[in-house]
């Protein structure tokens, strides 16, 4: 997990920046070429950290981001950290909004070298050039050696990294990223993801990160806004939102929860780490993370089974006493999803309806969650 969160934990008294209040409506009528679309969003997100805008394609994620950037004109109100960008008749045009924007495709200026693309932003940032900051950004993104090249001489991954650097060098007060990995193949994604993780973990400006990939969201974001057909389907911390059972954003086969915890023990003999979260602790394969290091793990519902007693005669290492809090049977009636509560955390288990029936589960019932596998995501 990030240094930022670690720092926040060490200095809990630190003043929190004002939140970002978004209340936007945009109606695009049907035309001959395009099906109509409407965006109707009313949401408050934290004024710091990474907020993922998550949803299926066509859910309005990109439109939402473009409205915040001022690239599209929605009606409504937009208050970013206490400054009004839009309200009633006031509409700050895009070029007057202190944003950085990373498009899905790198969109570098083709007539300028990578270096000149960066200079373009520096010149217009309105701030004197900060060489240390410049160097840090180049280093964070690993682009020191490609600066003299033109965009068409760069690989797709390099282009996107230069584009990210350019968006940072404008010194934004809000960084907007529209699926910066979506146009890249798997290998390029793996190339850029570490840079993004580093960036998201250390950025002092709030980031809005549009994505349709749960993996990216849980790796990068602290907070998530789920959009569905132009409306907010859910909003909250990543751990909270992904502990809900909501098929619009969590397909039943992929269901899983996120747990934030800390490494509390390392077992060198069996190469395992023990992490504690609010509600219990879990063993997972040693991650190399030091004791006290915050980590984030994902537990998939299909890896969780339920027992009425604490069984000692099992190969499963992770058994956590929990309470049943919600039971939900899928439409076909073959699968039962059970939401379990431990401390402040939730775990979701996916059972056959038959097992659920024979265990006779009812809300409030104490049971044991047996967790077969835990994946480290951050």
């Amino acid at each position: 997990m990030s240094d930022r969160i670690l720092e926040a934990r060490l200095n809990p008294d630190q003043e929190k920046p004002a939140p970002i209040r978004i209340k936007l409506r945009l109606i695009r009528p049907d035309t001959q070429k395009n099906v109509g679309f409407s965006l109707d969003v009313d949401v408050v997100i934290p004024g710091s950290g990474v907020t993922a805008i998550f949803g299926h394609s066509g859910s309005g994620k990109t439109t939402f981001l473009r409205c915040i950037a001022g690239l599209e004109k929605a009606s409504g109100m937009l208050d970013v950290n206490g400054s009004i960008w839009q309200s009633g008749k006031t509409f700050l045009p895009a070029y007057k909004r202190p944003i950085g924007y990373v498009f899905q495709e790198a969109s570098l200026f083709a007539h300028l070298t990578a270096s000149d693309n960066l200079q373009y932003a520096i010149k217009r940032s309105g701030l004197p050039k900060n060489n240390q900051n410049f160097k840090n950004i180049l280093q964070t993104l690993g682009i020191e050696n490609v600066l003299q090249r033109y965009p068409h001489e760069l690989s797709g991954g390099e282009r996107q990294r230069v584009a990210i650097a350019r968006a940072l060098l404008i010194q934004p007060q809000l960084l907007l990223m529209d699926e910066p990995l979506a146009s890249l193949d798997m290998a390029r994604k793996q190339e850029i993801l570490p840079y993004l993780e580093n960036l998201c973990a250390t950025s002092s400006v709030p980031i809005l990160y549009v994505s349709h990939s749960i993996d990216e969201v849980v790796k990068l974001a602290d907070h998530v806004v789920v959009l569905d057909q132009g409306k907010v389907a859910a909003s909250g911390s990543v751990t909270d939102v992904f502990s809900r059972i909501n098929p619009t954003f969590q397909p039943e086969s992929d269901l899983g929860v996120i747990l934030d915890g800390t490494v509390i023990e390392r077992d060198t003999r069996w190469h395992l780490s023990r992490i504690a979260f609010d509600g219990g602790d879990l063993w997972l394969r040693d991650t190399g993370d030091e004791i006290n290091r915050p980590v984030r793990v994902r537990v998939l519902a299909r890896d969780v089974s339920i027992a009425l007693d604490n069984h000692h005669d099992t190969s499963i290492l992770n058994k956590i006493p929990v309470k049943v809090c919600e039971i939900f049977t899928t439409d076909e009636g073959t699968i039962t999803i059970v939401r379990l509560n431990a401390g402040e955390s939730y775990i979701i288990a996916r059972l056959t309806a038959k097992s659920a029936h024979y265990l006779n589960l009812t809300p409030g019932m104490p049971v044991w969650a047996q967790i077969k596998s835990v994946a480290l995501v951050q």
Partner: protein, 231 residues
């Protein structure tokens, strides 16, 4: 090669006319091209058609209407007279005005096509990098559409050098004022002075060929968008 003084005078006048017209057209044509490239207005069609008229109309027809409009009773004529400029036919200024209109499509179309080829994205990127509209125009649009501007300037210049009919109608044949090369050639031929005609005609042929050669090799190297030479 031995040009007479009057030949040299017509060559210089032609160059002066073409330069003036090209500069004016770049100033007037660019905003028109921008509007045509970006607008969703219903006026796009009619305006495009008017701009393209000189491509299909005989120059004498255009020249005739200009002559009438610029005359003492014409719309333009009344305006220029009330402003104290007198009337424009058979003056250099009149020739410039008619030529600007006559060469308009050759300037507007390449620039418009270059603007259209840019798309919205570079403008949006510039806006997110805090570039205002004018900044965006000069730092992004002009450099990216540069081949279109070059094509437009060269075609506008060459086309003005090569006009004849509209010059005769609007400008007449006044030495040092409206007698350009094409008219001079006509005069030489009329008096059977083929040697002089050959020199001027050959010069124009060579000039036009070199201009087009230059454009097409530029197009091969830079993929000039929007080079439309069809008439």
């Amino acid at each position: 090669m031995n040009f007479s003084d009057s030949d040299i005078e017509t060559i210089l006048l032609t160059l002066r006319l073409a330069t003036t017209v090209t500069l004016l057209l770049m100033l007037i044509g660019t905003p028109i091209a921008w509007w045509l490239a970006r607008t969703k207005s219903a006026w796009k069609g009619p305006v495009s058609a008017v701009v393209a008229l000189p491509l299909v109309l005989p120059p004498t027809v255009l020249g005739f209407y200009f002559l009438v409009a610029m005359g003492p009773q014409g719309v333009i004529g009344e305006l220029t007279q009330s402003l104290g400029f007198g009337t424009l036919p058979f003056t250099f200024t009149g020739l410039v005005v008619a030529s600007v209109f006559y060469s308009m499509p050759f300037v507007v179309q390449p620039i418009q096509n270059a603007f259209e080829a840019l798309g919205d994205r570079p403008l949006e990127v510039a806006a997110t990098l805090r570039a205002g509209p004018w900044d965006t125009f000069f730092s992004v649009i002009v450099p990216m559409a540069k081949p279109g501007f070059i094509t437009a300037a060269v075609l506008g210049f060459a086309h003005t050098v090569g006009e004849f009919g509209i010059v005769l109608m609007v400008g007449g044949n006044i030495p040092g004022e409206t007698r350009v090369m094409s008219v001079q050639i006509y005069d030489h031929v009329e008096v059977m002075d083929y040697a002089q005609a050959h020199m001027l005609a050959g010069m124009m042929l060579l000039f036009s060929f070199l201009v087009l050669l230059g454009l097409y090799s530029l197009r091969r190297r830079h993929n000039i968008w929007g080079l439309k030479l069809e008439r």
